[in-house]
């Protein structure tokens, strides 16, 4: 087999591309530009950390099924961890989003990083919503019977039935978290590949 043939392989080309765009020093950096020194940068990693706690607490809830937390003190505590980590997650994520807006963090070829961040935010809202309607208590009964009108009015209710507990639970614990985690991973890799957006040069004029 010639080296040219090997170079043309999909695997080889993918490896070269990944190595070129995400070399180890970008993936696991040991230095940052000096301007990356503000409290606002804390909220990105806080969002990621809260997501990790959300997923870990969700894993524990999944071990015993969707109704365990109503009858077990430990289950209720794990549910509380799940709730509060979600609240921290959204709090940090919204501040992160506004921070990035005022930095115009899409500059310098970083538009897709912004786009993946917004899609992750919207996906997270859908994930949280399906969690609320999967609680198997009064809250889920009320929220689902109210939310159905909004979703049905768009036509989406034809295939996304918020009154179908089984369907909502599957979306909540499989499809949407998978999407949110993949989107988050892509978002973080984009940040690592492009680096943190530098400050504005004050001489640039607004258009």
């Amino acid at each position: 087999m010639s080296s040219t043939e090997i170079d043309r392989q999909w695997t080889t080309r993918l490896r070269h591309r990944v190595a070129r765009r995400l070399p180890p020093e970008k993936m696991l950096p040991d230095t940052q530009p000096a301007y990356v020194a503000s409290w606002i940068y804390v909220f990105g990693v806080t969002t990621l950390s809260a997501l990790a706690v959300v997923i870990l607490s969700g894993f524990i809830l999944a071990l015993k099924g969707p109704q365990w937390w109503h009858t077990s003190g430990i289950g209720h505590f794990v549910n509380s961890l799940h709730l509060w980590s979600v609240e921290i997650f959204f709090f940090a994520m919204v501040i992160h989003l506004w921070g990035k807006f005022f930095m115009a963090a899409w500059r310098g070829g970083r538009s897709l990083t912004w786009v993946t961040g917004v899609v992750t935010f919207l996906t997270s809202i859908a994930t949280a919503f399906t969690g609320y309607v999967s609680q198997t208590n009064f809250d889920s009964q009320w929220i689902s019977t109210q939310a159905k009108d909004g979703i049905n009015s768009t036509g989406a209710g034809s295939f996304f039935n918020v009154l179908n507990f089984g369907q909502m639970l599957m979306w909540h614990i499989v499809l949407l978290p998978l999407a949110a985690v993949i989107l988050t991973a892509v978002h973080v890799l984009m940040v690592r590949a492009k680096g943190v957006v530098p400050p504005f040069e004050e001489k640039v004029e607004a258009r």
Partner: protein, 313 residues
């Protein structure tokens, strides 16, 4: 469209500072985990028990019976909902667009069959219920309508005495027995089961009991007491004194203001607005003017104040 000023950004050639990404991630995770544990220990989480149809019919028997009647005479919210449950109405419109109607009744619900007849037929065939059901089945549609109309006309004087629903009419054929039997079925707890088991042994679909519950006043009365109605900004509230889905503030905001607060198409209109705003948020980097707001506001000088201070020095 003007050329974006954001495309070319000079790469950073200034000083670097040490950065331990693994250490930062580990510390952040530990801090968030400890904060979460603390919040969970101190504040716990809400868990108001589920409402059953048995509970509803026991606590407010007249409301249940009136709702059962509305399912029979076609005046309930579900009976004239339209898509995806039936074709009784065109549903909400976004301008000329009837989005739900286009997709059709994909989750068919017939309130007479699903909420009244099927649950009653699932019970042992003993008189007077079996006689009433046989009389109903043997009647013409016009006769059934006449019975239901007679019952509906007298339903304003409905009473619930000695565990029996009574309406002062003799022209309603089998309807009084059917409504009263459904009431007894509900109060025994059997209706909760009859509604969810219509799809077989295993089921995780609660569309029917939830629609039935939502057609009555009991569920919404409880929600009102907990400040969960749409008019109470309920979409972002939570049972008890807990933070709810605060991130839905803008979504619920539109329901509080005209013209949406009184629009019969509010749901689809608010969804349309939120979809549009979400799209705008997504496309911020590409929208002239919007993408320049950070430059105009100069909030970034607060974020990078050390950097600019160093430059000025």
């Amino acid at each position: 469209m003007s050329e974006s000023p954001d495309v070319t950004v000079a790469p950073w050639t200034g000083p670097q500072r040490p950065y331990d990404i693994i250490k930062e991630g580990t510390i952040a995770f530990l801090v968030v985990a400890i904060l979460t544990i603390g919040l969970a220990l101190v504040f716990s989480s809400p868990d108001d028990p589920q409402v059953t149809i048995q509970q509803w019919s026991t606590k407010t028997p007249i409301d249940f019976a009136q709702t059962a009647l509305s399912e029979l005479n076609g005046t309930s919210g579900t009976a004239h909902y339209g898509a995806p449950y039936n074709t009784a109405s065109a549903g909400q419109k976004l301008g000329p667009l009837t989005l739900a109607k286009w997709l059709g009744a994909t989750i068919p619900v017939n309130t007479v069959r699903d909420f009244v007849l099927s649950p009653l037929e699932s019970q042992p065939a003993v008189p007077p219920l079996s006689t009433a059901l046989a009389q109903w089945k043997g009647a013409s549609p016009a006769q059934r309508t006449a019975w239901v109309d007679a019952y509906t006309k007298a339903a304003g004087k409905m009473t619930f005495v000695n565990s029996t629903v009574t309406v002062p009419t003799t022209a309603a054929g089998p309807v009084p027995v059917m409504i009263n039997s459904l009431e007894q079925l509900a109060r025994s707890g059997a209706l909760d089961q009859a509604l969810v088991t219509q799809n077989g042994f295993y089921t995780s679909n609660f569309t029917l009991p939830l629609l039935f519950l939502a057609d009555g006043s009991y569920l919404s009365d409880l929600a009102q007491q907990r400040h969960l109605l749409g008019t109470q900004w309920g979409m972002m509230n939570e049972t008890g004194n807990y933070p709810g889905q605060a991130w839905l503030w803008m979504y619920t905001f539109w329901y509080q203001v005209p013209p949406f607060s009184s629009s019969t198409n509010a749901d689809v209109e608010v969804w349309g607005i939120m979809m549009l705003l979400s799209l705008l948020l997504l496309l911020v980097p590409f929208i002239p003017g919007v993408r320049s707001i950070p430059r105009w506001t100069r909030v970034y000088r607060l974020i990078w104040r050390d950097h600019y201070r160093t430059q000025e020095v």
